[in-house]
Symmetry: C2
Subunit: 248 residues, 2 copies
């Protein structure tokens, strides 16, 4: 059985305006990799219901799992739950357990559990909750879609509750090798190695730093033996052009 | 005439594996905003021709401009130029000017202008070059698609050459106001302000830091007067709940 696949859908005008650097997609990428779930696509769309619905329906039809980030707070621009309900064509209402959790939180803090805060308990029908150990307001799972917070610390904290719900695949092994060499001097050799180790994905990432230029070479694959053999081939290639490889 | 729209297409397995944090989409977002070009969508796909072609064709049909990042180097995993040619259904060949630029660069450095390096001169027919003042290998423009490097410093340096080719729109003005207040205490007031200032987009972004929590409120719009009026409304709202607003 091949590995499960995934997409991330980041929702928020603040990313598109350049105000905020998205880091949630990277957090999810690093969360999924050791579970053997292949992240295939990331999309960022604004706070517009039609955009969210279209993107979500495209992604959930195509990938095993979709993880959304953002738009589940109490303010008028938090429209993700309604958009997800619309995408699935299901109704949405105040979820009793989410209402109880939030009522308890605000009572404990002496804060008003007002109608806008109650919006955070609006969950599409048939969805299950995802625990939020930071600020209580839950995420939710509906079929293969996992709806998570946009605040990075809250999104990260939600992952513990959803990890057990995911089917795992074969974990990708990877080796990264750096050397102070020009990419073009090893490109033909790398292409030959890629041909020889078809089950390993070999990536080449040049860098330019004040102290000099170089390249990081990444071999990734499911078989540790194949990855190691490809890595050894890369090291031999680097030495053949007079460069000293360093494993990172 | 409404503002031009744009999408960013980031190409690279290293983003999806979680190895590299994409920052190019943020660079492009901050480049486009002051030009009055509305960034509507960001996508990240892997180094797979079919994926790149499908995403590019969806985005270039929909938005005024598409900016791609990554995959234009000399190695086997650099397939963006061929994918763009395939998406447009045009042929691709070694561009004479790009060949001359690169030949000169490698001659000056005493490096071999080998066939893999010559791949960087492969440009779809009818495309125009985009100057690369950092490492010479050019980007290119084909119709409404701008193909840029993946190395952040190179991508940033290419923007100067393409800026004059873009139609500009009305610039969005924005005011950001921070206050140590719970989002839920001002959410109803914010919703009322959003209703009142329909031409201004009001966003609410909570934060949780070791020193305490709070919210950043952003008013964005084309009319400076409307943005300022909405900002004044936000400040009055914050004072009405006992919080001291700070403009950032």
């Amino acid at each position: 059985m091949s590995n499960p696949t995934a997409a991330v859908l980041v929702i928020g005008n603040e990313i598109l305006s350049g105000r905020t650097q998205d880091t949630n997609s990277g957090t999810l990428a690093r969360f999924l990799a050791p579970l053997g779930i292949t992240l295939c696509e990331i999309r960022v769309v604004g706070d517009e219901q039609d955009e969210i619905v279209a993107a979500l329906n495209a992604l959930r039809a195509r990938y095993t799992y979709v993880f959304t980030s953002g738009g589940i707070g109490p303010t008028h621009d938090d429209i993700t739950a309604d958009a997800v309900a619309a995408a699935f064509g299901v109704s949405i209402s105040h979820h009793p357990e989410a209402m109880a959790l939030l009522a308890e939180r605000y009572a404990a803090r002496g804060e008003d559990f007002n109608p806008m805060r109650q919006r955070m308990a609006r969950i599409p029908d048939a969805a299950s909750l995802i625990k939020n150990p930071v600020s209580v307001a839950p995420g939710f799972q509906l079929a293969n879609v996992f709806v998570l917070a946009g605040v990075p610390s809250v999104l990260a904290a939600m992952l513990a509750d959803l990890a057990p719900r995911l089917r795992r695949g074969a974990v990708m092994h990877s080796v990264t090798i750096a050397a102070p060499v020009a990419e073009g001097d090893i490109a033909a050799g790398l292409a030959a190695l890629q041909q020889r180790f078809a089950e390993v994905s070999i990536g080449s990432y040049p860098y330019y730093r004040p102290e000099g230029y170089g390249v990081q070479l990444v071999a990734r694959g499911i078989s540790p033996e194949a990855v190691e053999a490809a890595a050894a081939g890369i090291e031999a290639l680097l030495r053949s052009v007079g460069a000293q490889p360093v494993r990172l």
